[in-house]
Amino acid sequence: MEILRTEHLTKIYGKGNTSVTAVNDLSLSVAQGEFVAVVGSSGSGKSTLLHMLGGVDQPTEGKVWIQGEDIYTLSTEKLAIFRRRQIGLIYQFFNLIPTLNVEENITLPCELDGQTVDKKRLDKLIDELGLNGRKTHLPEELSGGQQQRVSIGRALINRPAIVLADEPTGNLDKKNSDEIVELLRRANQEYRQTIIMITHNLEIAKTADRVIVIEDGKIIREG
């Protein structure tokens, strides 16, 4: 079942002679439960693509459907609500809220939604992320790998339709990188979580079900 589709997605920055086309007429489709890796050289437009898929950057042209919803027809308020319920975002630099502890950062999307958190599920998730004993720690008290685990937990807590990971291992050493990728794979396999991950590391990309290669804002190869 198709969970994400884009049609003629384009993003142009600037105007006139100084304009840059980061994404150029890109169409793709992702099925539910797929683990897709997007690779490309620096400046190829992969991060821009991810931002547009995540609803945080308005495309210049084109559409993005997630679960049949054209997300860029939603108002700012409704898009934010959609994002916290249906999209999980994982960043290279973790982007945790510095004044919230581990548990609070993970449950942030639920709290923003006014939902009561399922304690059992939360504890299980924290356990799976290997963060037991760190629940009340602030981000500055965690290592890079631990912070990224928190970020993954935040992305998965609401069981979103799709998880978008922007270079999740870019800031980590090999051991932590492997652990993070393993977590994402397990989420994909055990919970049929659809994941789109950007990486410049081909070894990591090979672990995905599908690899899309982007260059100059276009898909040049899929496999």
């Binding site: 931002h51 999209i87 630099f93 809220i97 923003l112 935040r154």
Partner: protein
């Protein structure tokens, strides 16, 4: 509704950003304190003025005279009448031995305890009557009427009704008429138990033919049968709603339709229309009534009253200044805080916080500040106002109205202050909340934070400009006040330090006036009586200078003019003639022509000659009085000029020589012989070695109206002290606003330096020395200061010029205060920036 996670985040962020949090808290607290102090002080002043007015003129708004007893309930029970008390006018009795032909009677009224208390009767001796066999006398009866009674004496009165020649009943508002009769009702005897000061104007007008005497109101008493108490005077206090529409309320009470008056604004009554309606009601009302304007004007403090336009304007302007300063400072702190958290807001947006939730978290932060700062600020403001009131009472101790000043907190004012503070916080948070809600998740992910240095520069420049402008305006205002007070203190150049305007005729008051000039502390005195002498303008040799500079009289259209005739009392006149080198015998039947006119020319005060009269010249004319002014008199009188001089006698100041055609100074005997009706207006001037004692004697011994007695030494001291108090209040207020401004500047500058620390590190790493770093900062700060002061000078200068044009065009020399203020601001800024540079260098 802010979610609990956002609340937690906000609380923790506040603890993390302590400087911003404290800056916002302090500013909110100061602004709230100022609002509370302004409102509390205003309500205390109003309460004090009301107490003063009640004591002076009685605790009632309207009095309806001679209302039939059976109609009294209709008035007393009117829903717009809050409280009422009654006094019964029993009648008149001949006062044997009265020396005042205009006041041959006593007027007997009966009052209960409440009425005696509310009617502002001030006991001098004895006590208030407790039954209808006891009586209070007015001291005025003794001092003016010349009939002495003591406490304990018995007095028997033939209580009667006054009737005119046609049998119409006359009341206290009708002065004594030749040919009127007394129709006796009953005879009653009373024991004198107390003596009071002359009652207020509402009870006894100065034209009233009877001196007030008061017994106890007891319809069941055995001295005055109830059948003589069929008419009553009803003193009413209206409700707030009744006072708001007092013309309609009064019309309802008297049962007369109100003449229409279209008010321009539905909620603001134009007092001129209301006064017209009241005057019209007075003419058509079945009962005579009196409006106690002395009290109403303070109870109402109506913005429609022109007297209060200035007051309301002052309060509004003060609050606007506080609001603007506070919003600017708090808004700037919020903006800085928001900028530092921009990345955090972007992250929140990226995980699904809606713009609304982000906005609400900013407002929640404002709420957290307000919930402690506003109550504490309110308490501080009340303490400030209380302290201020005590300080004013101590500094102005002895001044008439100040003793009534007391702390009074109207709950409406308190609520208004709290509301204003809340509005300040909300307005301050509005823009930062909007900007936070627009925070870009993309920018957050890229680790970018938009720094707006231009906005910070604007904030600093605006704060400096605002403080400068305000300082200059306040200094200019104080400069004008200082010069005005100085001018006022030296306004009278007649060498007198006490004066009194005496009400009544010369015959009646002559003895008391002359006796008062012989008081022990009086070294010199003048009894001034004026009269009007009408002359033909063609016969007056006006100087060309006078015609050109004064512009009056208008010789083309006016055929007559008035020369003021002034009698100064025998002793003062003799002394005057001696100074002029004239003998009394030669000059007593002549006139001395005072030939100087003081006016403004070429922007400064100067004097010039009015006429070219010479000694020996005759002035032909006619004494005339008000009723004759419209028709040209026969000019059958004449007076010879003994001397022409620019010298004034004791007691005559420059303001008294403000007539277009000069002033003639004559002896008492001459004036009495040539104008027996003249000299009605009596002013007595004294040079006294003990003005305080003399003032007391004039009031208590000679029974002159206290409002007409002026102790200039005391007034000058009070003026100076009031100026001092004004200065403390204004500069205190200025200091508080400057504190807000300085907090804003320090917060913005130091935060900016902190945010640019990486830039400084890079500069140092490529070889910038500490000295060069200091110079760079000094240059930057100089830019802020130069721009801010320049803008502030322009705004402050324009505001001062506007103030000069509207209110102070007669006052010269206040500009120097602005120059001094500018220098102070520059020095202050220099010290502030030097301090900040030092601090920044220390924090490497």
């Amino acid at each position: 509704m802010v979610t609990s996670i956002m609340k937690k985040r906000t609380i923790r962020e506040r603890k993390k950003n302590r400087r911003q949090t404290i800056a916002v808290w302090i500013t909110t607290c100061i602004a709230t304190a100022l609002f509370a102090a302004v409102f509390s002080f205003a309500s205390s002043c109003q309460a004090g003025l009301i107490e003063y007015a009640k004591d002076l003129s009685g605790d009632y708004d309207y009095v309806f005279y001679d209302v039939p007893r059976e109609e009294a309930d209709h008035i007393v029970n009117n829903r717009k009448v809050a409280t009422a008390y009654q006094s019964v006018g029993l009648g008149y009795a001949k006062l044997s031995g009265s020396k005042n032909p205009d006041k041959p009677y006593v007027y007997l009224a009966a009052m209960d305890n409440r009425a005696m208390q509310k009617n502002a009767l001030h006991l001098i001796k004895g006590r208030m009557p407790k039954n209808d066999h006891e009586i209070l006398l007015s001291r005025h009866m003794m001092t003016n009427g010349g009939v002495e009674y003591r406490v304990g004496d018995m007095i028997t009165l033939d209580i009667s009704e006054r009737e005119d020649k046609n049998g119409n009943v006359l009341t206290q508002s009708s002065g004594y008429r030749t040919g009127e009769k007394l129709k006796k009702k009953l005879t009653a005897s009373f024991q004198v138990v107390g003596i009071v000061q002359r009652p207020n104007f509402g009870f006894e007008e100065w034209t009233a033919p009877g001196y007030s005497v008061i017994t106890y109101l007891n319809p069941k008493g055995d001295n005055i049968p109830e059948k003589y108490m069929q008419r009553t005077d009803i003193y009413c206090k209206y409700t707030k709603a009744g006072l708001r529409d007092r013309a309609q309320t009064t019309a309802d009470i008297v049962g007369v339709t109100l003449t229409p008056g279209v008010q321009k604004f539905p909620f603001i009554k134009d007092e001129r229309i209301t006064n017209r309606q009241i005057n019209d009601l007075m003419e058509r009302s079945p009962y005579r009534f009196y409006e106690n304007w002395g009290l109403i004007r303070f109870e109402r403090m109506d913005i429609g009253q022109s007297a209060y336009h200035m007051l309301y304007l002052a309060v509004a302007v003060t609050n606007v200044i506080i609001l603007a300063a506070a919003v600017s400072c708090i808004g700037s702190s919020f903006a800085i805080s928001m900028e530092e958290k921009r990345k955090s807001y972007g992250m929140l947006a990226s995980v699904g916080a809606t713009p609304r939730q982000i906005r609400q978290s900013v407002y929640y932060e404002a709420f957290l500040t307000g919930r402690t700062a506003i109550p504490l600020g309110t308490v501080l403001g009340l303490l400030l106002s209380t302290g201020g009131i005590f300080a004013i009472k101590a500094l102005l101790y002895g001044q008439n109205t100040v003793q009534y000043l007391h702390v009074h907190v109207a709950w409406q004012m308190l609520i208004a202050g709290i509301l204003l503070s809340t509005v300040t916080l909300v307005l301050s948070a509005r823009r930062p909340a909007k900007q936070a809600a627009k925070s870009s998740p993309v920018a957050a992910m890229r680790g970018q934070a938009k720094k707006s240095r231009r906005a910070k520069k604007r904030t600093i420049t605006a704060a400096i400009a605002g403080c400068t402008a305000l300082f200059i305006l306040v200094s200019y205002f104080m400069g004008v006040q200082t010069i005005s007070v100085g001018q006022s203190n030296h306004m009278f150049d007649d060498h007198a330090n006490v004066s009194v305007d005496v009400q009544g005729s010369w015959e009646v008051n002559r003895s008391a006036v002359l006796q008062s000039t012989k008081e022990k502390s009086v070294t010199e005195a003048a009894v001034l009586r004026t009269a009007a002498y009408m002359v033909n303008t063609k016969e007056v040799p006006y100087t060309q200078t006078h015609i050109r500079r004064n512009g009056a009289p208008d010789l083309k259209h006016e055929t007559t003019a008035v020369i003021q005739v002034l009698a100064v009392g025998e002793t003062a006149y003799r002394n005057y003639l001696k100074e002029l080198g004239l003998s009394y015998e030669t000059a007593k039947d002549c006139a001395i022509f005072y030939n100087a006119y003081a006016g403004y020319w070429d922007g400064k005060e100067t004097t010039w000659k009015v006429t070219d009269y010479k000694p020996g010249d005759w002035i032909r004319g006619q004494f005339c009085h008000e009723e004759q002014m419209e028709k040209t008199p026969d000019m059958t009188d004449q007076m010879q000029i003994a001397a022409v001089t620019t010298r004034r006698p004791f007691g005559v100041d420059t303001s008294q020589s403000y007539t277009d055609s000069g002033t003639i100074i004559v002896s008492d005997a001459w004036l009495d012989a040539h104008d027996p009706q003249g000299g009605a207006k009596i002013t007595v001037k004294y040079a006294s070695t003990d003005p305080g004692t003399l003032t007391q004697a004039l009031e208590k011994t000679y029974d002159f109206y206290p409002e007409e007695i002026r102790n200039r030494d005391l007034q000058n001291r009070e003026n100076n002290m009031l100026l001092f108090v004004d200065g403390i209040a204004l500069y205190g207020f200025l200091l508080a606003v400057l504190l807000i401004g300085v907090t804003n500047i320090c917060n913005t500058v130091l935060t900016d330096l902190w945010q640019r620390r990486r830039e400084f590190v890079i500069l140092r790493s490529v070889g910038m020395t500490p000295k060069q770093e200091k110079q760079m900062l000094a240059k930057e700060f100089f830019g802020y200061g130069r721009n801010g002061i320049a803008i502030g000078l322009v705004i402050g200068g324009c505001a001062s010029a506007l103030y000069y044009r509207i209110f102070a065009s007669g006052v010269q020399g206040a500009l120097w205060f602005c120059v001094a203020a500018t220098v102070v601001i520059m020095v202050g800024l220099l010290l502030l920036f030097a301090g900040m540079i030092r601090y920044a260098m220390m924090k490497k």
